[in-house]
C-alpha cells in the first residue's frame, strides 16, 4: 500500500496522520501481541510508524495477515491506540478481505443480520480447500435449520451518513 492509500486508513479509523506521532516506540504492543506466538517478526509499532511516515505497507506483513483483533495491544498501549482497527483498515484498503469476510458483509447487506448457512455456502470454496471438512463431526452441534430474518430499517451500509463528524476518532 502506497502513501496515497494511507488516506483510506485514516478515513476508516478516524485517526489523523499526526495522531500516530504520540507513539513513544515503547513496543509494549509488540511484546503483548498475540501474533507474537505465531511469528516473532510482528511489530504493531512499525505499522503505525509506516503510516506516520507515509511508507509502503505490504500484504505479507504477518501482523496484517494474522491480527486476531484481541485488543491486547490496545489495552496495554499507554495511549490506548486502537491498533486492531488500524490493522483492519489496512487490510481493507489493501483489498485483502478473504471470501469468508466478503460473505459475512454480503449477508449483512442482504438481511441486516448474519445468516450463517449463507456465509458457509458462499465461503465453501475456501472451506473445502482449507481442510475444514474433517472438523464437521465436531461442528454438528452448530447445525440447525432456520430461515433468515430480514431487518427492515437498516440503511444501506455504504451510505456515509451515520455518525456525527465530531464523533469520529472518539474511543
Amino acid at each position: 500500500m502506497k502513501e496515497k492509500d494511507h488516506e483510506i486508513v485514516f478515513k476508516h479509523t478516524g485517526y489523523r496522520r499526526e495522531d500516530f506521532s504520540v507513539c513513544v516506540g515503547c513496543k509494549i504492543c509488540a511484546s503483548v501481541c498475540t501474533v507474537n506466538d505465531l511469528d516473532i517478526a510482528v511489530n504493531p509499532q512499525e505499522l503505525l510508524l509506516r503510516l506516520f511516515l507515509g511508507q509502503e505497507i505490504g500484504k505479507e506483513d504477518p501482523l496484517v495477515r494474522y491480527c486476531t483483533s484481541c485488543y491486547r495491544c490496545a489495552g496495554a498501549c499507554p495511549w490506548k491506540i486502537r491498533i486492531p482497527e488500524v490493522v483492519r483498515a489496512v487490510k481493507e484498503s489493501l483489498g485483502m478481505e478473504a471470501l469468508f469476510e466478503k460473505a459475512f458483509k454480503k449477508s449483512l447487506n442482504i438481511w441486516g443480520r448474519v445468516y450463517e448457512p449463507f456465509v458457509v455456502v458462499m465461503a465453501a470454496p475456501d472451506l473445502l480447500k482449507g481442510g475444514y471438512i474433517k472438523h464437521m463431526p465436531k461442528w454438528m452441534e452448530y447445525a440447525g435449520f432456520h430461515l433468515p430474518h430480514k431487518v427492515k430499517r437498516l440503511k444501506p451500509l455504504n451510505a456515509s451518513e451515520g455518525l456525527d463528524p465530531s464523533e469520529k476518532g472518539r474511543s
Binding site: T34, R65, C70, V114, L157
Partner: protein
Amino acid sequence: MEYGYYPGCSLTGSAKKLDRGVRRICEKLGHSLTEIPDWNCCGALEYGDRNELLSISGENLRKARGMCKEIVVPCPACYKNLKDADPDRSFNILSPLELLNPGNLSQIGQKRDLKGKVFFPYYGCLLMRPEGSAIRNKNIMEDAISAFGGDIDGEKMRDRCCGGNQLFLNKWATEKLSNLILSRSRGTVVVFCPFCHMAMKTFAVGRKVIYLTDLLLYVMGENNSL
C-alpha cells in the same frame, strides 16, 4: 429487573445453546429480557471502517431508545461494539456475566455440586479488554465454579487469545493459538464467547468445551450431564 436483550447473530445461529442458557438463568434470577425489536448485526470484527461499524451498532441502540436503559448482550464482540457505539453511556450495556455475583449464585437453586471436577474458566479477549469496555467482575467464572465446589486450573491462560476470528481465514493460526491455551490448562473448558467455543471445540482433543450457562444449568439440575 427488566432488561432489553440483544442476542446478536451468533446466538440465533451457531450459539443457540448460549442463548437458551442465558434466557433460562436470567429467568431463574428473576430478570425479564425483552428483545430489541428488529435488531441488526453489530458488525462483529469484520469491518475495517470504524464509522461504518459504529453506525451499524448504533442502529441497534436507536431501536432500543425509549424501550430500555439497560441492555443485556451475551456475545463479547457485540458487547464491545455496542459499548463503543455509545460513548456517552446513555445505555447501561451489560454482559450476562455482570448479572452474576457470588451472592446471587445461590438463588439459581442448586441441585448438584461440582466436587471432584476440574474446570478451566476461559474468558478470551473481548470480555477482558480493552479496559474501557471490559466486564467489571473479571473473576465471576472462577467464583461460580468454586461456589459449587469445582476445582480450577489454567489461571494464566484465561485471557489469552484463541484466535477464534481467524478460524475461517488462517486455520493453522487458530489451531496454534488454541493448542497453546489447551496445553497449559486441564479439565473441562468453560467459555462464554461463541468464537472461543468454536475454536476450542474444534481443537480440543479429549476435553469437553462448555458454556458457563451449561455449567449453571447442570448445577440447577436441568442439564443431565456436563
